[in-house]
């Protein structure tokens, strides 16, 4: 785990620029138009075809799911002793895949890795969709689906509470927290791009929808500052969250007595496996995506190379996990454990074990070779094989572990049924379908971050012309005088100059965060971190109190010989609730500090302001500034050498 960032950090920023994570010539406008253009363009037949195919797969899964709900989980291949089968394998597999997105986004953000920017948006979307698939299975697998909410605490009149020592309850909390935090993180990063879409969209319905979804994002210096603060905070909590979620998933197994499950290596080994399979799935999606939309200059072979390296490292950790498992099984000399060892190597279920080893360990070693890492087709094949291998790993753990447990008379055979296969394939279809919908409706990469990156990488060689939109000027009272610039530098300089001239009510609007702007405007640091801290403390304290009071006082029961106050069992949920509280604090702190949502704002009436989300940097002086005078301020602004100076009048229509 800790090796991966070290490997990445070894490259200095200078090297990064040389090796340039994005290629080609861009401008602010071209980047905006290209990426925002994908959702706004018309739908191509190829897309419909793909969506139709995904739909067919999904319908199969829906039918199998309906049959399961109607008849019972007897429709599946599960039995005694193999009471868990494909459903739980699917759950663990999907949730593992769902780890890469947040990890790429959050962890690499913390590590200041610029190469995250091209891929983080769709990787996060992949996370959300994968977690959605994963979340289906714990529900479907319940014998009595309609009672799923008994896993959650709610004020039941019978004063009945969940049994907090069960890893399944931890799991429910972990997965729901993970999904919620991932959505918040994703949405927060999406706000500026939604604003870009809003300002590009032609169809009124789309524009209105995106307008609402963008919450009135204006791209002011204050907005950018708060967004960045909140985003970093969310990244800070999402990273331990990722680690905790798959650790808790692994505890579903590690807490039990089942031979082959009860291993202490499970949490780190599962997390590494999740990263491994998650990155494999990102590659599986990224490689076709970049060719389909001609994004080779943004998702470069450099990206592929770096992701492959992460896979290599996490794959080696997984291999270490396999070795450790073998070693402890051998060391224990217990008949049950050594049976498991022999069965895996050359006995019952050896096939699944060796498929796992070949796919995950042997094939994974191909990533040592630069030629494999930089060749998209080869990498795609390796990623696919790893996806299969990680599925087989879970099969080997869950199914073969259960099939051969303590008493030989109970040994059984698990054979997946048609319904099992249909559900697995159905979720693949649903996942693909959701992803297809995503790429047609949401910018696949964060536009503003790419602009910032291109700016930093000096990749802005091309100048672009934006289509001039003739907007009827509003006739209301004057709101502000607005100067437009083409580059962030003059804007920053302009802000400083105007402040020196004594203007106080000024605001800067930019299509990307401009560093130093917030400071130049003389604003205070935001209180978002304090809100996040408060949220975290509140979440954690409430959670522990809930667990303690319900387990010890309200619903005290003798469970497995454990004391009522089994504090180690209370740690996972307390941790998850702390993270959830922190995330809520950060997310709503950002919205509160930005005074969002605010769908209408006088500045939107500025002629040409739609370019504020594309390629124009604006400096606005409000007319209620004590130093404001129409002539004086106009000349002050003109002195900054802007492209234009316009009057903003409030739209009274």
């Amino acid at each position: 785990m800790s090796r991966a960032p070290a490997a990445l950090r070894s490259e200095s920023p200078a090297q990064l620029v040389r090796a340039s994570v994005i290629e080609g010539a861009h401008s602010y406008g071209s980047l905006t138009d290209r990426i925002a253009g994908i959702p706004l363009s018309t739908f191509r037949a190829r897309w419909w075809l793909a969506l139709g195919f995904a739909g067919v797969l999904t319908i199969g899964g829906v039918i199998a799911g309906a049959a399961t709900i109607y008849e019972g989980v007897g429709e599946w291949g599960i039995n005694q002793p193999t009471a868990w089968g494909f459903a739980i394998i699917n759950f663990v597999w999907w949730i593992g895949i769902g780890h890469a997105g947040t990890l790429i986004s959050a962890f690499l953000l913390l590590m200041r890795q610029p190469w995250r920017n091209s891929i983080n948006r769709f990787a996060e979307a992949m996370t959300l969709f994968a977690v959605m698939q994963a979340g289906l299975f714990p529900l479907l697998h319940l014998g009595r689906l309609w009672r799923f909410y008994w896993l959650l605490p709610y004020p039941d009149v019978m004063r009945v509470w969940p049994q907090w020592r069960s890893p399944l309850v931890w799991d429910a909390f972990a997965v729901m927290t993970y999904f919620t935090v991932s959505v918040l993180f994703w949405y927060l990063g999406l706000l500026p791009d939604l604003a870009s879409l809003r300002d590009r969209a032609r169809r009124p319905a789309v524009r209105r929808l995106v307008h609402v979804l963008a919450l009135g994002w204006r791209g002011s210096a204050a907005h950018w500052h708060r967004l960045e603060t909140g985003y970093l905070l969310l990244a800070g909590v999402a990273t331990p969250l990722v680690v905790s979620v798959h650790s808790i998933v692994s505890l579903d197994f590690a807490v039990s007595l089942v031979p082959g499950w009860n291993a202490t290596i499970f949490p780190p080994y599962f997390v590494a496996g999740a990263i491994y399979s998650g990155f494999a799935m990102v590659l599986t999606l990224a490689i076709p995506l970049r060719s389909a939309f001609g994004m080779q200059d943004l998702i470069t072979t450099r990206h592929l190379d770096l992701m492959a390296k992460v896979m290599l490292v996490s794959g080696l950790i997984v291999a270490y996990g396999y070795l450790t498992e073998m070693f402890t099984e051998w060391l224990s000399t217990e008949p049950v454990e050594s049976y498991r060892l022999h069965a895996r190597l050359a006995g019952y279920g050896a096939w699944s074990y060796w498929i796992t080893i070949v796919c995950n360990v042997v094939v994974g070693q191909a990533l040592w070779f630069r030629r494999v890492r930089t060749r998209p087709v080869a990498l795609f094949v390796v990623a696919l094989i790893v996806n299969v291998g990680m599925y087989m790993e879970r099969y080997d753990i869950i199914v073969t572990g259960l099939e051969r447990d303590y008493l030989p008379t109970s040994w059984g055979v698990y054979v997946p049924t048609l319904a099992d296969w249909a559900l697995l394939i159905g979720t693949l279809g649903l996942f693909a379908g959701l992803f297809l919908v995503f790429i047609r409706f949401v910018p696949v990469s964060p536009i503003y971050e790419l602009k910032e990156l291109a700016h930093r990488m000096r990749r802005l060689t091309e100048t672009s012309r934006a289509p001039e939109v003739q907007q009827p000027s509003a006739s209301g009272p004057l709101y502000a005088l607005v100067a437009g610039f083409e580059e962030p530098g003059p804007l920053l300089e302009g802000v400083r100059r105007m402040r020196m001239l004594g203007y106080t009510k000024i605001e800067a609007y930019s299509p990307m965060p401009v560093h130093g702007l917030h400071k130049a405007l003389g604003r205070r640091r935001s209180r978002i971190p304090a809100a996040a801290l408060a949220g975290g403390l509140l979440g954690g304290t409430c959670a522990y109190l809930l667990l303690y009071l319900t387990a010890v006082h309200d619903y005290p029961w003798h469970i497995g010989g454990k004391p009522l106050h089994s504090w180690p069992s209370f740690v996972p949920i307390t941790f998850e609730m702390t993270i959830l509280g922190t995330s809520f604090g950060a997310f709503f702190g950002v919205l509160r500090a930005c005074r969002l949502p605010r769908l209408s704002h006088p500045i939107f009436a500025t002629p040409g302001f739609e370019r504020a989300t594309r390629d124009r940097f604006f400096l606005a002086v409000q007319c209620d500034d004590p130093k404001f005078s129409l002539e004086g301020t106009t000349s002050d602004l003109s002195a900054l050498g802007p492209e234009s100076v316009v009057q903003t009048r409030e739209d009274t229509r």
């Binding site: 319940l142 008994w150 509470w161 969940p162 069960s166 447990d405 040994w411 497995g560 010989g561």
Partner: protein, 971 residues
């Protein structure tokens, strides 16, 4: 087989409940369709019966006042008996609100001694079976009792003129004294009539042997508890006949007593062709060809009583290696035991073996000690002939009226007799039976017979003790009894059965005191009716025939199925789904063979083999069935069970397994050989719920030498947390003695009956979804002599104190009670199944579907059978054994009312109560004086998977087996 197949398809009238295509083969969602069929059948049956009742709705008004002596919701017990081949097995029936819901053994009854076997437990389902025949039918069309009565009365009146010539009556074995009286009257009325007795599991060769030795067919009562050595010659002592339960009980009791002083007595020696539960329990078992048993018997007789005339030493060539060694050991032990020896022979052996066994007993002086001679309680055998004369009578045209009652010879008589074909030729055929079975379809008339638990009657136990049968419910299927039928034949006016039985006994007692009657009915046993021991000396033996059976080729041995017997219980789903003790097979039969033969034939388990008799009866006689390879089968022997492949009666039994009767001959009912065996190359499923045959090197069933103590692993119990739970004063626990358990499966059936456990059908069992809360694991272990030893281990929920299942349940649906039970709260279960995964004993069962079919149309009658205090579990819910917690709670309430503690033995779990060998002891482990506490203090006590530190409340007493070096020595 062929003729019966034709019989099924011939019927095309509208009154068949189901088209044959619906019945078999069932595929897909078989369990559901089959349970729905059960329901549909009930609906139709109700329709048919509805004709007899008033169709205008009548309103009854419930009283709000308590009825005298009747407390709603209270439980009442009634003594009665169920019959096995006419013999009574006394039971106490528990009735809840007027519905029998459980049968327990009657401690006062000599055939029960308080326990029962699995078949008796399943009689309850037989009683409520919605597929039982419920309407009188004439040529398949619905008729009524009135019509039948008139018709039969006229027909009998006409026959009376001919002194009954042309009338033939076929009955099963019976011991009923009342019936005997009526029979005498009928026989007087029809002196020319033919009386036939049909008993597929007849002990004819034993009767023949007794006739040769004593001049008349005396019966024997074996008393293994008196013996120090028991030698079974192809005899399954613990299941054969109606005395199995009491034999097992007395044997186990004697062994326990001997074991407490460190010895294994009675020493059990068994020679048998395929393993039985008696063989599995044996201290010295020999797998031997069935044909070779007569050699063993004769040689044994020669060794024990060399002076007996007509016995010559068998040449050494005839007995090979292991057989000779076993023989030497048996002879030595028998001679050492003297009058405390017991030799018994099985039903399948010819009369010569029975004779030899009885002569050994006589020569050793054990007659009167280990075996008693009595006048046979079964009286029909001496008054009736078999079916062969019936066949000739039909062929010669002498028979015109055939009445068959309680028998199904079309299915279970040997096919050579072609009974079905012959009955079809006649006009006047009347069948009375529980089911509309193969014989019913071959007869013009069919009328439902009442179940034993619906009838007044009387019957004798194997030792002659008589008891009264009392009905627990009005006949559910509108059936009538054999007493009614026999009175009809005798031309007596219609009188309730009760009056006939009471009148019979009051005449005997020469008193009509109500108290005597009430006493007899109430206890289920009529005092002083046990048969007296007959003192009789054996006659000089005639010259023994010199025939030595050929020892060549593969021989096929037939045995009744352990549970469905000759097929009579094939429609009982509990029995069909109860794993056969040795093979663990459910819902069908297999060709059992040893690994060597299987290897030679090139067949594996599930591979279909084709067996053809070598005497060339053509294709019709060939039988194809799947093989099952297990150790312990004699060389060159294929063992098959009869009673399968039913083709009429109820969809539960139809088409389950293969009917092998076409291989059997009148001359060789239980053995045919040599046969041709072909391997078809196809395979067919063999449904076995057990996963693996051996213990895989793990210490699961542990054993000690007699008097030995288990090596202690030194139980590690390091509590990480201090306990903080209040504990109740009484703590429940169980101890299962593996040295007593014979693996008969009665506990499984009892648990199923007590805890409303559903049947899931073969498809679901095959998929690993059986629901039994207690299972009996069978292991093959490497024997000290190279053959395989067989071990049984009943596994209910262990009620772990540190239960792994409780810890992982997210909703707290499984929790620990203050008195130490691992409870299941079904209402709270959402079905994550994690508890099952985490249970190292795998004793939890999940309702993958709505197995109980609650609310379904099948439910009404089956619901009445259910124990009212046990929740019926719905779909998606985990269930498991909770030590019959409803019994504990009921006892608790009684104790609380008396302001006392529950006394030891006041609560018995269903498995404990039924156990014929009393291997299961249950009680308060907090009280050191209880039986269970004493058992747990034994040096043989151990916990299963102790190393997991789950601290099970259910522990085992290690099996006690002889150490190899001590074998072969003196007693």
């Amino acid at each position: 087989m062929g003729s019966r197949g034709a019989a099924t398809s011939e019927k095309k009238d509208g009154w068949r409940e189901f088209a044959p295509a619906t019945l078999a083969p069932m595929s897909g969602l078989e369990r559901r369709s089959f349970l729905k069929l059960m329901g549909a059948s009930l609906a139709l049956a109700g329709l048919g019966a509805g004709g007899c009742h008033s169709s205008t709705p009548e309103h009854i008004v419930p009283t709000t006042r308590k009825q005298n002596a009747r407390v709603p919701g209270s439980t009442r017990w009634y003594a009665t008996s169920v019959l096995r081949d006419g013999m009574a097995l006394g039971v106490l029936a528990r009735c809840d609100d007027g519905r029998p819901t459980k049968l327990e053994g009657n401690p006062d009854h000599p055939a029960s001694l308080g326990a029962t076997d699995a078949i008796t437990q399943a009689e309850l389902l037989g009683l409520y079976d919605p597929h039982r025949s419920a309407i009188v039918r004439r040529q398949g069309r619905a008729s009524s009792w009135e019509v039948l009565e008139d018709f039969l009365r006229d027909r009998l009146a006409a026959l009376e003129g001919k002194k009954g010539a042309g009338l033939h009556v076929v009955l099963g074995p019976t011991t009923s004294p009342t019936l005997k009286d009526l029979f005498e009257l009928a026989a007087t009325r029809f002196p020319q009539a033919g009386w036939h007795r049909h008993a597929p599991l007849d002990d004819a060769s034993a009767r023949e042997a007794m006739r040769r030795i004593f001049g008349r067919p005396l019966s024997t009562v074996v008393q293994p508890e008196m013996a120090t050595v028991v030698v079974c010659l192809d005899c399954d002592l613990f299941t054969e006949g109606a005395s199995g339960v009491c034999c097992a009980d007395r044997f186990a009791d004697a062994r326990r007593k001997a074991l407490s002083s460190g010895s294994l007595s009675p020493w059990l020696m068994v020679a048998e062709p395929s393993p039985t539960i008696t063989g599995a329990r044996a201290d010295d078992r020999l797998a031997v060809r069935r044909t070779a048993v007569s050699l063993l018997a004769r040689e044994l007789l020669y060794r024990v009583a060399p002076g007996s005339s007509g016995v010559a030493e068998v040449t050494n060539v005839a007995l090979v290696g292991e057989e000779r060694a076993w023989l030497e050991r048996a002879a030595a032990r028998l001679l050492a035991a003297g009058s405390r020896a017991l030799v018994v022979a099985g039903r399948a052996q010819p009369s010569g073996v029975h004779e030899a066994a009885m002569r050994i007993n006589a020569a050793l002086g054990s007659l009167g000690h280990t075996t008693r001679l009595i006048e046979p309680p079964e009286w029909l055998a001496s008054r009736a002939v078999g079916l062969q004369p019936l066949a000739s009578a039909i062929d010669s045209g002498a028979a015109d009226t055939v009445v068959l009652a309680g028998v199904n010879p079309v299915f279970d008589a040997l096919p050579e007799l072609r009974i079905g074909e012959r009955l079809r030729k006649l006009e006047g055929t009347f069948h009375f039976g529980l089911y509309r079975d193969e014989t019913a379809e071959a007869c013009r008339w069919h009328a439902p017979l009442a179940h034993d638990l619906e009838s007044w009657g009387d019957a004798r136990a194997p030792d002659g003790t008589a008891g009264v049968l009392q009905p627990l419910v009005e006949p559910l299927g509108n059936g009538r009894t054999l007493i009614w039928l026999m009175a009809m034949l005798a031309g007596l006016p219609g009188v309730p059965d009760l009056d006939r039985v009471r009148e019979h006994w009051q005449r005997r007692w020469r008193t009509n005191l109500e108290s005597t009657w009430r006493q007899s009915v109430g206890t289920g046993v009529i005092a002083d009716t046990a048969a007296a021991t007959v003192q009789e000396d054996p006659r000089q033996a005639a010259e023994a025939s010199a025939e030595i059976a050929p020892r060549s080729g593969i021989e096929v041995v037939f045995d009744p199925d352990p549970f469905v017997l000759d097929g009579r219980h094939a429609h009982n789903a509990w029995l069909q789904e109860l794993p056969r003790p040795l093979t663990r097979v459910v819902w069908g039969n297999v060709a059992l063979m040893g690994p060597q033969l299987a290897q030679r034939l090139g067949v594996e388990t599930c591979g279909v083999i084709r067996i053809e008799p070598a005497d060339g009866h053509g294709d019709g006689a060939a039988v194809e069935l799947p093989a099952l390879v297990i150790p312990g089968v004699a060389e060159e022997t294929i063992a098959v069970t009869i009673g399968h492949g039913r083709c009429a009666g109820s969809p539960v039994g139809i088409g389950r397994g293969v009917d092998v009767s076409s291989l059997r001959r009148i001359s060789a009912q239980w053995l045919v050989g040599p046969v041709h065996v072909g391997v078809t190359g196809r395979s067919r499923r063999v449904v076995i719920p057990q996963g693996h045959e051996t213990m895989a090197g793990r210490a699961i069933v542990r054993e000690v030498a007699p008097g030995g103590v288990l090596a202690r692993s030194g139980t590690i119990h390091l509590p990480i947390y201090e306990g903080a739970h209040g504990a109740a004063p009484q703590q429940w626990g169980m101890s299962i003695d593996l040295a007593s358990c014979i693996g008969c499966g009665a506990c499984v059936a009892a648990c199923q009956a007590e805890n409303n456990i559903p049947v899931v059908g073969p498809d679901q069992v095959e998929r690993g979804r059986e629901m039994h809360w207690i299972r009996v694991d069978r292991y093959f272990t490497e024997s000290r002599r190279g053959a395989a030893d067989i071990r049984f281990q009943p596994v209910p929920c262990m009620q772990c104190e540190d239960a792994p299942c409780e810890l992982v349940c997210p909703t707290g649906a499984t929790q620990h009670s203050a008195d130490g039970l691992n409870d299941m709260n079904y209402a709270r279960c959402i079905g994550t199944r994690y508890c099952s995964n985490n249970c190292p004993y795998k004793v939890r069962r999940f309702n993958f579907y709505l197995f109980a079919e609650r609310g379904d149309e099948a439910a009404p009658r089956i619901q009445q059978m259910r124990t009212p205090r046990v929740t019926v579990r719905g779909r998606g819910v985990m269930e498991k054994c909770t030590y019959c917690v409803h019994r504990i709670r009921a006892a608790e309430m009684r104790a609380r009312a008396d302001n006392s503690m529950i006394s030891d033995g006041a609560v018995r779990t269903a498995c404990q109560q039924v156990c014929p060998t009393r291997a299961i002891v249950f009680g308060d482990v907090a009280d050191p004086a209880t039986l269970v506490s004493k058992a747990k203090r034994s040096g043989r006590s151990y916990s299963l998977l102790e190393e997991l530190n789950t601290r099970p409340r259910t522990t085992y007493l290690a099996d006690a087996r002889a150490e190899p070096e001590k074998e072969g020595g003196g007693v």
